[in-house]
């Protein structure tokens, strides 16, 4: 549920941002279930902010960048491999991070409740580390990413259903520096 809601909010935000600022589209998080599609080609042009752009549009673009940084990624059972949708989400984060050299993230790995509670702490850490490596392998300075794990200790969804477990096997992202002066890519 939270995931779907978040996607819906982002999709709503896109046309507004596009219509208002007439720039290249800001980084948009694709629907997690589909692999990265060419619908949102990566933009290498940092958007120059011109004085004529209205402030609301800028604010929306910044919020979209923030949303991209905070977008959660999901994992399969007992796996730390990055799924296609997770890699696309990380690509979006990379664009925002490259446009914001002072921004730093903490990646928090989480697991579902199954298996050993203590093993799950290590598994969550490994998930966070996989996401970090994806970013650093693409040129991001390792000092800009911290990793942590909470295993099964902080579930996003309660209950013991497949749906709840899928929501809980995730990597969450916290902005630990540079969040106040974020710029859209």
């Amino acid at each position: 549920m939270p995931r779907l809601t978040r996607v819906a909010v982002l999709l709503l935000a896109v046309p507004l941002a596009l219509g208002a600022c007439k720039k290249k589209p800001v980084a948009v998080t694709p629907e997690p279930v589909t692999p990265a599609t060419p619908a949102n080609p990566p933009s290498n042009n940092p958007a120059p902010v011109t004085p004529v752009v209205d402030e609301a549009a800028v604010r929306r673009a910044i919020e979209a960048a923030r949303s991209a940084l905070l977008q959660t990624i999901y994992f399969d059972y007992d796996s730390d491999e990055l799924r296609a949708d997770s890699r696309a989400t990380l690509d979006d984060k990379l664009r925002v991070l490259n446009a914001n050299p002072s921004a730093r993230l903490r990646i928090e790995g989480h697991t579902d409740e199954r298996g050993s509670d203590e093993y799950n702490l290590a598994l969550g850490r490994r998930r966070a580390d996989q996401a970090k490596r994806y970013l650093t392998d693409r040129g991001l300075d390792a000092s800009r990413i911290e990793t942590m794990s909470f295993g099964r200790e902080k579930p996003a969804a309660s209950g013991s259903s497949e749906e709840a477990w899928a929501q809980n096997r995730r990597g969450e992202f916290q902005i630990i520096a540079g969040g106040a002066e974020l710029r859209a890519p």
Binding site: D78, R114, G115, S116, Y119, R125, A128, M148, S149, F150
Partner: protein
Amino acid sequence: MYFAFISTLHLRGCADVLPVLPTHMIARVRALVLPRILRTAIVGALGALAATASLAAQERPAGVSLTMVYSPGKRVAIMVLPVRGAAGDSIKTIIERDLDYSDRFQHVPAIAAPAPNQPLNYALIAQAGAAGVVQGQLLPSGWLRVMLHDVAGKKIMKQDDFPLPTTVNTDGWRLGVHSISDQIEQWITNEKGIAATRIAFTRDDRIWVVDSDGAGARPVTPRGMSPSWHPSGRYIAYHVIDVDRHRLVVTDVVTNAQRSLTNEKGALDNSPAISPDGRSVVFSRSVEATASSTDLFVMPFDGGRPTRISVARGSINGAPSWSIDGRRVAFNSDRSGRSEIYVADADGTNATLLSADAFGERGLRTDPSWSPDGRMLAYASMVGGSMQILTINLRDRTVRQLTSDGNNKSPSWAPDGQHIVFSSNRSGTEQLWIVDVESGRPRQLVRGGSVSRLADWSPRLSNTP
């Protein structure tokens, strides 16, 4: 062969309680233990009473002993008489329950206690089916005089006076009564009971402690999980999760004073286990630079620098458990793919894979716990899509499945080596359960809405608060 039988039955039938084993099988499996528990009690009277006993035995369930000779698989039929005095009812109830929870006795409902200084009516008690009678008498000093009667021998077999705190129903008072139960069990079976123990566990991100009979559950730390008792019973090491680190803390359960064991930004320290000599702590740790690896570290209990004893190379090594001699450590590792149980020397060398493929499932074996006699490991394993508690015999590697209902994790042995506490969601939410290894009989230790898990059974406790 017997183990295989049990396992098959469980996978198919999903029975919650393991069947009580045929006595001759237990006798064979446990033959080595028998000479030790042959007792002095009633040898002379046996012949004369043989006829009566066998007659009565036909009316008793199998596995109940009508003599005061205990042997594994045979429960001694025992009656606890009402105790006169203000605290008498509580004392009788606690001792009766302790003896029941020991899984070594068959409870026989009490008849009325004799008037003070009057002898027991042994004939009446024999008719009720009891082989032994516990008679308690509160003395003017506040002490409890306990007499253990041998019904067949028509005499007092053991007697002693026990101190009790004056304030009834405090933690210390209950522990005092539990200690009496343990002494009674030792009089009969030659093995001290485990009533005077506590179980530390994790609930609502705090460490809780509960008596072995489920009474007196209370939080003892403001935060934390994964408790490990110090062999003195005075301290508990545990794990605290902060936003940017996982650290280890020790609390003094008497004074509630706390001190840090580890506290490093970016470190993920967890699963502390204090060594049997109380001097070292082994735990698992991952650090930021090599975050996909989780290694085992050892450090002094009094504080100091942790030393890495495993070489993870990207694998997860965790949930360590000391052998009783402190020379080896069991742990889970996924170095060969999925998580399996390994045993290594305490310095990390000579790591060997212990768990073999069992029940047709590969891997996902975790949470080893070394038995107090050093001969067994209990652990959790995925069986048929759910987590179950198993034991493996370290000598012949026979595997035995102890649970089959729900998901069961984090086993920890009682100091008697006969009971295991673990968490299970069989009742809906995850709660703590205890299983008697010999009979497979389960009981729920704690109840209540909150999830209770990650338990550690204390050593035997003396009359400390």
